[in-house]
Amino acid sequence: MSHQYHSMRASQKTDYLIVWLYAILVAIGIFCIFMVEYNPNEDIVQSFLSGKTNYSRQLFFTGLCIIAATFILLSDSKIFTAFANLFYAFGILLMLATFVIGDNINGSKSWIRLGGGFNLQPAELCKIFTALALAKFLSNQETDFTKLKSQAIGAAIALIPAVLSIAQQETGLALVYASFFMVMYREGLPSIILIVGFSFAALVIATLLLEPNTLALILTALALCIIYILRKQIKKQKKILTYIIVIWAVCVGIQRFAVPYLFNNVLKCYQSTRVYSMVGKDYDCSQNKHTIANPTKAVRKPDDYNVRQSKIAIGSGGLLGKGVLKGTQTRGKYVPEQHTDFIFTSLGEAFGFVGCFTFLMIYLLLLFRIVRIAERQRSTFSRVYAYSVVSILFFHITVNICMTIGLFPIIGIPLPLVSYGGSSLLTFTILIFILLRLDADRQMVLR
């Protein structure tokens, strides 16, 4: 197999639908950043080429990404399996290095300055390495993922970078690693974990919404109902009753102690405030451990300015939107961080519901396509990796869009391929193009 022949085959087998979707999304991204930063007094062509505006920089990043993507497509797919663990180790090392040589940008010490005005966020790159490492681990023939030990190792691979991210004050990025549980679910993690996870989330939200005593009463009533319904089974098996009582006790415990502890002691004041404001409540910062520890910082009134302006921008778009460059919220810079985390608002304002829905469908098509690619792999490594990619994308899209429309507290994570930011764009490019490279070699069984 000559090298030339190999590369030709790779390009032929590349899934061009994904490439097209990728290109469309990146183009939409640059266009949205342009809408945000548009200044009627400047010459458009010149400002696109000047490198001074964010959209021109994003264009430059796209160029870099195309080069990176080409390199990946031309590379040998065996590299990724061979070096997966090494990459992972390198990534962890980089993250640890940020504690020493990192710079403080936007309040989190997770960046390494590269010079020339460019910065690197190792936590972003670590997503790729974690995906590869997890794929490598699960594709190992010795790994039996039905066993608890394997499950624990899998979880550890995903959680180590997450813990490091939290240490770097990047809660948003840390949460992304939770998406690997979806991969593990696909690879044999019992469904009960997902169910418990969802139940826990529902309980936390219920705790926020309802009075503690009311919720306790509801839970008790629920438990009694279940006991009544299952009374015949309980007579046969006393164990069920014990289970129900234990579950009830855990629920009440979570609701009574764990959730308040989480908000008052683990999360910081602004984080708790954001979560509370999502359900339309005010969080009393004076109860927060972090504020009590630093009483010098004035307790600021809870402020949902970002979400409010974001919702106004999207909501005012209406069915068909206000039109390109006619969005008053965007033109007036009412939405903070609109070119990065809140990029979806410019789309919502300019193109309305129709635009948003079309945009979502592009994403959904991308996700479904990747799932389909995943399922057609013969190699476990490729499949696990594909699921990692789709999980990461899905998590980013969901959290980011839900945050802009007020369904999720504000967490600073970007919208894949669309938000401004070189690190983010490069990460997703590499993620997707490694997947394409692996898919091109799907006839081979990679280990």
Binding site: S191, I312, I314, S316, T328, L360, Y363, L364, L407
Partner: protein
């Protein structure tokens, strides 16, 4: 195993779809079902700027602008741009120190943020403007912004022209939907109020886009929703500003009013009230301070006495009394009454200046000699008219005449707040005399000589002169003759001023006799010492009894006799003789109007007259106290004294006096008491202790 995995892949896909469906659902909720976000976005970003057109200009009868607009300049600052400014030099120009500069900048930032412009120094003087304009390039961040304000070039006619003021919430509620907003100005008094809609023009609205810090980013939708401002229309009035100025000058240092009307059209030539104020003191930044001062002033400079002051007309009413009897056919001009110096037919005598000599042998002489007996008798004849069943019916007929003459009803001049004054109803007398029809013409006989409960505003008195001058008709007095580009609405509004009111059916020859009588007043009667050079004029003096202090001097006149073009009434409160204190004002004004100038002698007399101080002592005392540092202490002491006095001596009086004797020097007691006094006093006109007053009260 494969099936199991297949299902897991399905589950994952279902999760995708469910989450995307939730997102779509929220998008539908936000973008399609919630209209509030659109409104919120507009509130955020669209800045509506109201463009105020120039208000209309008000002209006098010789096309001189008496209320116009001038451009004044405010010095504005944008604090964030002003860092490089030459502070020291600017402070030197404005004559402030740098501490004050810093204070103002801080205030501006607090008020309006550092990126928006705020007023640094309002309403610059012309010299300061010139200096700043020259050097403004040295002060980046500072801008001179022009502002249109009202200007009264003659510093006069405050009560007629009125003033502008900021609208309040009550006003906004009342005129909802007329485009007023908080912070707008509207006419609050005078012509500014009455013709607000004409003067204000049509406001324009410009819409701008503003950013998150309130900076304007350009016009909204390229101005598609903007409306242009249309300037207010001008008013052409009948005021003669020079006559007006003279009237105000003559009334200086007095409390009173003068009204001059052109009887041929009902157009007001001058309408002065005193004390008054300089209308320019109620514009711009000094408005708030001065308005409060005027409002608290006990002499009430904001009160337009010409239409709100209510005075007993006294003897000036007599020709009207004659007219009623003539119109009812009760007397003829040759009717005479034998007066021996007092009217005694009703018990208590009503004294008369003259005695015997046939001074009331006919109507003309009775008017010339101002015979009390004659007009009391004529009034009784009207009330006891045999054509009516009882005196009450007769009185009602008489009252009807008064109302058609414009007494006891508001005339409808185009100024807000006109008083209707008083011609009492029968019910009032029923109450006074303790029951229905328990009174006769004898009980109310002094109505015939313009006393008792009868009051009239100076405007109404001038209007009475118009009726006599016109020989039986009048036009509703009005100030505005025409409006620029008159619309149908305007014509409808002005129509009532172009309507002739016929009030009597008395022959012109009879009117001539009344006019002759009034001319006699100026030849050998009470006004014989007053002349209008080059013109014959008719007049009637009055010295109105009033229960508080000295008599009010009243003087009504019209001129020239044969072709009257000015009818005038003057009231000077608490001064004395009508001829002495009100007469000169009237004759000088007529001279000014008819001859367009005053003779040297007249000018000298006017100068002298304007310096005469007739302000009641109580008011002077009030001013003195107000100015005095001891004011507070003194007032407290007095209060204590008064209280002690009340407790010691006046324990029977349960009715607390609710008025401030300083603020209302003319008032001796509360309303009921005052009316009782009037009833007690008026039938006995000579019931005064003061010797001098005794003389006054004999009604010349």
């Amino acid at each position: 195993m494969s099936v199991y995995h297949q299902s897991k892949s399905r589950v994952i896909q279902i999760i995708f779809v469910v989450i995307f469906a939730i997102i779509t659902g929220q998008l539908v909720n936000l973008q399609i079902f919630s209209s509030k976000y659109r409104i919120m976005a507009d509130n955020n970003a669209i800045y509506r700027k109201v463009i105020y057109p120039d208000r209309g200009i008000i002209f006098d009868r010789k096309q001189r602008a008496i209320l116009e607009n001038t451009i004044m300049y405010d010095l504005m600052v944008i604090p964030s741009d002003a860092k490089a400014t030459d502070k020291i030099e600017l402070c030197k120009l404005l004559n402030i120190d740098t501490a004050e500069y810093r204070k103002r900048i801080v205030t501006a930032i607090i008020k309006n943020t550092s990126v928006k412009s705020s007023v640094f120094e309002p309403l610059l003087s012309p010299e300061l403007y010139a200096k700043l304009n020259e050097n403004i390039y040295k002060f980046p961040g500072f801008i001179l912004q022009e502002r249109s304000i009202r200007n009264y070039p003659y510093n006069t006619a405050a009560a007629i022209l009125g003033y502008l003021g900021e609208v309040d919430t009550a006003f906004l509620r009342k005129y909802r939907g007329e485009g007023y907003e908080m912070g707008d100005y509207t006419g609050l008094n005078g012509l500014e109020r009455t013709y607000e809609k004409v003067l204000m023009g049509q406001r324009g609205i410009k819409r701008f886009i503003r950013d998150n810090r309130g900076r304007l980013q350009g016009s909204f939708e390229k101005g598609a929703f903007d409306t242009t401002a249309i300037a207010g229309r001008n008013l052409y009035t009948s005021i003669d500003i020079e006559v007006q100025q003279l009237a105000e000058k003559l009334l200086q240092n007095k409390i009173g009013s003068a009204v001059a009307i052109n009887p041929k059209t009902g157009s007001v030539i001058a309408m002065a009230t005193s004390p008054s104020y300089n209308p320019n003191s109620l514009i711009g930044s000094s408005r708030r301070r001065n308005f409060g001062k005027f409002l608290l002033d006990t002499a009430r400079p904001l009160l337009n006495r010409a239409i709100k002051g209510q005075y007993p007309p006294g003897s000036t009413f007599k020709p009207l009394g004659g007219l009623v009897a003539l119109d009812e056919g009760l007397i003829t001009p040759t009717y005479g009454f034998n007066c021996f110096g007092a009217y005694v037919n009703c018990g208590k005598p009503v004294r008369c200046t003259h005695a015997g000599g046939g001074h009331a042998s006919d109507l003309r002489r009775a008017i010339a000699y101002s015979c009390n007996s004659y007009f009391v008798h004529v009034f009784r004849m009207a009330v006891d008219n045999p054509a009516y069943a009882n005196p009450q019916q007769g009185y009602l007929k008489w009252k009807e005449y008064m109302n058609t003459f414009g007494l006891g009803v508001p005339l409808g001049i185009d100024l807000p707040g006109e008083a209707k004054a008083s011609i009492p109803d029968t019910s009032r007398y029923n109450k006074d005399f303790g029951g229905f029809a328990r009174w006769k013409s004898c009980n109310i006989l002094t109505l015939g000589i313009g006393q008792d409960r009868m009051t009239a505003t100076p405007l109404q008195l001038a209007n009475l002169m118009c009726i006599i001058a016109n020989r039986g008709y009048y036009y509703t007095p009005h100030i505005v003759d025409s409006i620029e580009n008159e619309t149908i609405d305007d014509t409808a509004y002005l129509a009532k001023y172009r309507l002739k009111h016929e009030v009597t059916h008395v022959a012109d020859s009879t009117y001539k006799i009344i006019q002759d009588g009034m001319e006699d007043v100026t030849i050998y009667g009470t006004a014989s010492f007053l002349k209008v050079p080059g013109h014959k004029y008719c007049a009637k003096t009055g010295t109105a009894q009033n229960p508080h202090g000295k008599n009010h001097a009243v003087f009504t006149a019209f001129a020239p006799k044969d072709n009257p073009t000015i009818a005038i009434s003057v009231v000077v409160e608490n001064s004395g003789y009508g001829g002495t204190w009100a007469g000169p004002v009237a004759t000088l004004l007529m001279e000014k109007y008819l001859n367009d100038t005053l003779t040297t002698a007249s000018a000298k007399r006017a100068e002298e007259f304007s310096t005469i101080d007739l302000i009641p002592a109580a008011i002077k005392k009030w001013y003195y106290r107000k100015d005095s540092i001891r004011a507070v202490k003194e007032r407290e002491k007095e209060k204590e004294m008064e209280q002690r006095h009340d407790i010691e001596t006046d324990t029977t009086n349960n009715i607390k006096t609710t008025f401030d004797p300083e603020a209302e020097p003319n008032r001796k007691s509360d309303d009921d008491k005052r009316e009782n006094n009037m009833i007690k006093q008026t039938p006995m006109l000579n019931n005064t202790n003061d010797k001098k007053k005794k003389k006054d009260s004999t009604l010349p």
